[in-house]
Amino acid sequence: MVDIDPTEHEIAELGPEVNQIDDVDELEAMLALEEDGEDRQPVKTLIESRIETLEADDEAVDPETVDLTDLTIADIANLVRDVDDVDVLEDMLEREAGGNDRKGAKEQIENRIDSLEGSGDEEPTEVEYVPPEEKYPDLDHPTADKQYVEGVSGERYRDMWVYCETQQGELIDVAKEMLGKARELMDEYNSDSDAEGAYGGDEDGEPEDVVAVVIGSDVEDLAEEAVAYGADRVVYHDDERLERFRHKPYTEIYAHMCRDFEADWRDYHEPRYNVFPATNNGRDLSALVQGELDSGLASDCSDLYIENAMISNPAKTGTPGDSREFERVLHMPRPDFSGFEYSTILCIDKPHRDFHPQGASVIPGAFDLPEPNHDREGELVEHDLDLPEEWFQIEILEADQLDEGVDLTGNDVVVALGRGIGDDPTAGIELGVDLVDQFENADLGFSRGVLTASYQFAGHVEQYVNMERQIGESGQVVEPEVYIAAGISGAIQHKVGMDESETIIAINDDPDADIRDFSDYFIQGDLFEVLPRLTEAVEAGELSAVAQEASDD
C-alpha cells in the first residue's frame, strides 16, 4: 500500500511529497503505479532519483576496502573527512600510491592525516595554521622580528586594568569615571545573575579584580583614592622623574606591569582588559601600550559592556562557514563620522594569536562620576622596576599652564557692557568694575560688539577685554539673579545669552533699544552717568529704590 498514488497528483505537488518518503519499497510501489497508470516520464524520474538517493545513503563506502581508482579526487576529499583513524588513512595513501597515484588525491589524504595528528583530541579544523612568514615568503613581515608579537594561544588573562591619569597631583575626573564603570562591570562579571555580562568570576569561578594603575611622582595618596573609587588593587609606580607624562617611561612601565611584573597575585599572562582615558596623554599611552602588548585598541569609546559574541569571520573562528561563540568579550561602542554612526569594536583572539588585553580608551564624561567610598579596602602594590636613564632622554625644560578661562556662570550678579562704552571705553570698563566690586559674587561681561571693536584700552583694564567674557550666542549663556546691561542694544544674538536671568536691568540712552522689550527695569540715560549712581546706591544699600525711581516700567 502507498500513502500517495502518484497518478492522482500533478507533478508539482508530488515533488515535496516524494522527497519526504524514506521507504524505498513504498517508492518502488509508487513507481509501479505510475508506470501502470499515467506513465509520465518526469514523475518516474522524480521517484527514481529519490530511490537512488536513499540507496546511496545506505551503501556507505568503506574507506578500508573501497577501490580508490573508482573515486574522483573530490570523492576522496569527501570520504577522508569522516575518517578519524590514521592507520586507515595511511593504508588509503598506500593504495592510492599503488593505484592511480594522483598527487591531488594523496594530498587530500595527507592533509587529513596531518590534521588528525596535529590537533589531538580537539575538534578538527580545516584551515591549517601556517605562520605568515612561511605562508607568504615573498612578502615583508614587519612584525616578524618584534619580540612581543607572540602569537601565543590559550594563555591566562584576568582582571580589568584602568589607567588612572593624574594632573597637578590629582586623579582626573575621567579616571574616577572609569573606575566607577569598571567596578560596575566587574561586579556583574563576578556575579551569578542571569545578566549577559555575568560569568560568576573567571574560568575557574574565581572573582576577577579592578586593577588601577597610577604612574607619577608622589602618587601613593592617589593610589588610596583609586581604591575609594572602586579599585580592588592599585599598582603604582612612584618616581620624581615621572612628574610629567612622557611617552617612553610611561609606556615601558605600563607594559612591564601588564606583562613582566612578577607578583603573587598576578599569576596570569596579561590583563584581560585595559581601559585608558581618551585624553591627550591617555590617547598616546593607550596606543603605545596596546601596540607594545601586541593587541588592539578601540579609541574614543562612549560605552563599555561585557558579553559573549557570536563570530563567523573565518579569520577568527579558523573554520570557514562556522560560527563560534567567544566569551567575555569587551564590547566597545564608539562614534564614527563625528557621531553620525556608532560602531561596536570587538578585540578577539584568532587561532594561533591572542589579542589580549582587549583595550579601549574612553571619552571623558561618558560615564558618571561615582561617589568615593573611603571605607573601601583594597591592596596597594608598589611597582618595582629600575628606570634606565635612556628612557628620560627627552627633557622637559619648561611647562606652562593655560588659563582656566573665565566662567561667568554661577555669579549672582553679572554686569555686561556694550558698545555704549565706545565714547570712552577705558572709563566704561572702570565704571563696570566698580559696580561689580559692590557684590560678593559678581563678574564683568561684554557684548560681542565690544570685543570685536577697534577700541583702545588702557593697560589696567585691558585684562578684562577678552573673548572669554563674551555673553551671547557665540559666547557664554548666563542666568544670574541680576543682570545689568549697560550700553547694550539687545540684538537677538545677545539676548539668547542672558534672557533667562532673574532680573534684568538695562541702561541705554536709546529709548527704542530692543533690550527694553525684555528688561525688568529700563533706565534711559548715559551709562557714564547712570553706572556711578548705581554703584553709589548699591554701596548705600538702596539699589532697588534707585532702580525703581529710574525705571519707567
Binding site: 565706545g422 570685536t452 577697534s454 577700541y455 583702545q456 544674538q493
Partner: protein, 556 residues
C-alpha cells in the same frame, strides 16, 4: 615621482553646485566623464542668492531643462507671464508693459528660490555623477588651485587632501577664489559690479493670485526705476513665487559707494512706496533678507575664462548679463557650464584633454554667449556715453524742456517700445540718465499719482540679521587696513552694516589714543552674508568660510 602623484585624481572636478556647476557636471556625466562636484554649503543653494528669474533662451544651445528634465515642475516657482516696468517720481508712477522684451528670445522664464532650486539640481547631479565614479560632496570648501611645476593640475580644499583633475570647472560664484588664485578675476573696480539685496516676503498663494490678478500657474515680474532710490543708479524688482514674493534692489556698486547709501534703506524705500501697497497688503512678513554681488558682464565677463586645466563658469567668469531691465545670469551659467563640458569631451576625443580651455573659449564665441555678455554695440556706444562730460550733457538734455517735450512727443506707446527693444537696452550706458533721470521724467510727465496707503514696516537691520542662520567659524575676512579712509565705505555699502549700527560687520569708531583721535573701522564677521562687497570697497583679505560654516540661506 613627485609627491602630488599620491593625490586622488578625477577626470573632472567641478567646484560649486549652482546652475553653472550643475550644468557642467550633468553634461560631463552625460558623456561618461568621471566627475567630482564639491560644494561648500551645507546643501547646494544654501549660499546662493539670485533676484529670481531663470530664463531659457531660444537661441541658446543648452537650457537648464534640457539638462535636467522636470526642472520646471520640480525646482521653479511661477512662470513669468507678464512683465512691467514702473517709472517712479515721488508718488507719480508711469507703468509700461514690457512683456514683449522679456518674451524676446525666451522659451520661458520662471521665478526661482535658490535653496529649493539648487538643492534639487544637486540631487540630480549626485545621481548622475555617481554613475561616472564621482559624486557630489557638500561642506567642502575649495580654497585654491593645486599647481605642479607652475601649472594648474587640480584643487586644494580646507577639508580634504588636494585633488587632481584633467579639468577643473570653477563654478564657485561671484567671489570665486579659484578665478582670483588664477589671476583671471579681481575685486578692484567698483564699477564692474552691482550689489543686490532682496527680501523674500511670505504670502498666501490665494492672496498672490488676487492681488496680482493672476491664476495658479501664472506670475508677474515688475521692475522699478526712477527717484525712489535717493539718486543711486539702479532699480528694483518684484517677482511672484508660489507662496512668497521676491522683492529686491540692484545698484551699481560705484554709485552706491559714492552716495554712501545704505542698501537696506534703499530696499525699504521700495517696500514702503505707495505703489507696492496693492501687492503687499497689511500683513507684511519678511522670511529672509539676503544680498549678493553681481558682476557686470559688459565689463567683467572674462573674454578668455580659462588657464591650463581651469575653466571659469557663470558668475566666477563674470557671466552675468545686466542691461537695463534685462537681468540674466543663471541661463548663461548653464550654457557656459555645458559648453565647458562639451569642450572637455571634444578635447579628450582629440587626445588632448588639457586643451579644453581654448575650445571652451571658442564655443562661448561661436554660440553667441560672449556677444550677449559683452555686446559690441555697448563697447562702442555705451562706453562713450559714460564718459563724464557726455553723460552730464545727456542728463541735462533729457532734463531740459526739449528733453521733456521729447518724452511727451514720443508718448507712452513709443517709450514702451523703446524699453522693449533688446538692442536699445544693450546700448544703454551705465549712467544716471537711463536709471534715474529718464524714468523720473517719464513718471513726472506721463505718470499717474498713486495715493494708496502703504502700511509696510520693514524689519530693522538687526532683526534681519538675527533671522539669518549662521555657524560662526573663524573670521574669514581680515581687515588689512582698518583706517576709515581705506575701509570706511564698507560701513554703509555692506548690506549688513550701517552707520551708527553696532551689530553689523563693519562699524566706524573714533578711537582716542594719547590725546589724538583716530577714525577707524572694526570688523566682526559674525553677521557676514558673504556677498563680497567689502572685498571690493574695503582693504581686506577676503576668503569664504570653510565648508558648512557661515551664512545659510533657507530661501536664497
Amino acid at each position: 615621482m613627485t609627491e602630488t602623484d599620491d593625490y586622488e585624481h578625477y577626470e573632472a572636478v567641478v567646484v560649486g553646485c549652482g546652475p553653472g556647476g550643475a550644468a557642467a557636471a550633468a553634461a560631463l556625466a552625460n558623456n561618461d566623464v568621471e566627475t567630482l562636484v564639491l560644494e561648500r554649503g551645507v546643501d547646494a543653494g544654501s549660499k546662493n542668492v539670485s533676484g529670481g528669474l531663470v530664463y531659457a533662451e531660444e537661441s541658446s544651445p543648452y537650457t537648464i531643462d534640457d539638462l535636467f528634465p522636470d526642472f520646471r515642475e520640480e525646482a521653479t516657482e511661477r512662470p513669468t507671464t507678464e512683465n512691467y516696468i514702473h517709472n517712479v517720481a515721488g508718488d507719480q508712477v508711469a507703468s509700461f508693459d514690457i512683456s514683449s522684451l522679456h518674451h524676446h528670445d525666451s522659451e520661458w522664464s520662471d521665478a526661482v528660490l535658490r535653496r529649493k532650486m539648487d538643492s534639487w539640481l544637486a540631487e540630480r547631479v549626485h545621481e548622475m555623477t555617481r554613475e561616472t565614479g564621482g559624486g557630489l560632496l557638500t561642506e567642502v570648501r575649495v580654497n585654491g588651485l593645486l599647481r605642479e611645476n607652475g601649472e594648474i593640475v587640480g584643487v586644494t580644499t580646507s577639508e580634504l587632501d588636494p585633488i587632481k583633475a584633467d579639468l577643473v570647472v570653477a563654478a564657485d560664484g561671484v567671489n570665486s577664489e579659484l578665478a582670483r588664485d588664477a589671476g583671471l578675476m579681481d575685486w578692484e573696480d567698483p564699477d564692474e559690479w552691482f550689489q543686490g539685496v532682496k527680501a523674500v516676503v511670505e504670502m498666501d498663494p490665494e492672496d498672490i493670485n488676487e492681488r496680482f490678478g493672476i491664476e495658479e500657474g501664472e506670475g508677474h515680474a515688475h521692475l522699478f526705476s526712477g527717484d525712489l532710490f535717493d539718486g543711486v543708479r539702479g532699480g528694483g524688482f518684484l517677482y511672484t513665487n508660489e507662496d512668497s514674493l521676491s522683492i529686491g534692489t540692484v545698484f551699481h556698486l560705484d554709485s552706491l559707494t559714492e552716495e554712501e547709501a545704505e542698501p537696506h534703506e534703499l530696499l525699504d524705500n521700495l517696500l514702503t512706496h505707495p505703489l507696492l501697497a496693492q501687492w503687499l497688503g497689511d500683513d507684511y512678513e519678511e522670511l529672509e533678507y539676503s544680498a549678493k554681488l553681481v558682476p557686470d558682464s559688459k565689463k567683467a565677463a572674462h573674454p578668455s575664462p580659462h588657464q591650463d586645466r581651469l575653466v571659469l563658469v557663470g558668475d566666477a567668469a563674470g557671466q552675468m548679463q545686466a542691461q537695463g531691465p534685462i537681468i540674466k545670469g543663471m541661463n548663461h551659467a548653464v550654457t557656459a557650464g555645458a559648453l565647458a563640458a562639451e569642450a572637455f569631451v571634444d578635447a579628450k576625443a582629440r587626445n588632448d584633454p588639457h586643451a579644453a580651455g581654448d575650445l571652451y573659449e571658442q564655443k562661448l564665441r561661436d554660440e553667441g554667449v560672449m556677444e550677449k555678455l559683452r555686446p559690441r554695440s555697448y563697447r562702442t556706444l555705451g562706453k562713450l556715453a559714460e564718459a563724464d562730460p557726455i553723460s552730464k550733457v545727456t542728463d541735462a538734455v533729457a532734463d531740459s524742456a526739449i528733453g521733456r517735450a521729447g518724452v511727451n512727443l514720443l508718448g507712452p506707446g513709443i517709450l514702451e517700445r523703446l524699453f522693449s527693444s533688446p538692442r536699445m537696452m544693450a546700448v544703454m550706458p551705465d549712467t544716471r540718465t537711463p536709471y534715474v533721470t529718464i524714468p523720473t521724467i517719464i513718471a513726472e510727465e506721463l505718470g499717474e499719482r498713486v495715493d494708496a496707503d502703504n502700511t509696510v514696516e520693514p524689519p530693522e537691520l538687526d532683526d534681519r540679521i538675527g533671522d539669518l542662520t549662521y555657524d560662526v567659524g573663524d573670521p574669514h575676512i581680515e581687515l588689512v587696513d582698518n583706517s576709515f579712509e581705506a575701509s570706511g565705505t564698507a560701513v554703509t555699502a555692506c548690506p549688513v552694516s550701517a552707520k551708527d549700527f553696532g551689530g553689523g560687520c563693519y562699524r566706524d569708531e573714533h578711537v582716542k589714543t594719547n590725546g589724538s583721535e583716530e577714525h577707524l573701522v572694526s570688523l566682526d564677521t559674525q553677521p557676514c552674508v558673504e556677498c563680497g562687497t567689502c572685498a571690493v570697497v574695503a582693504d581686506t583679505h577676503w576668503e569664504h568660510p570653510d565648508g558648512g560654516k557661515g551664512v545659510e540661506y533657507k530661501q536664497g
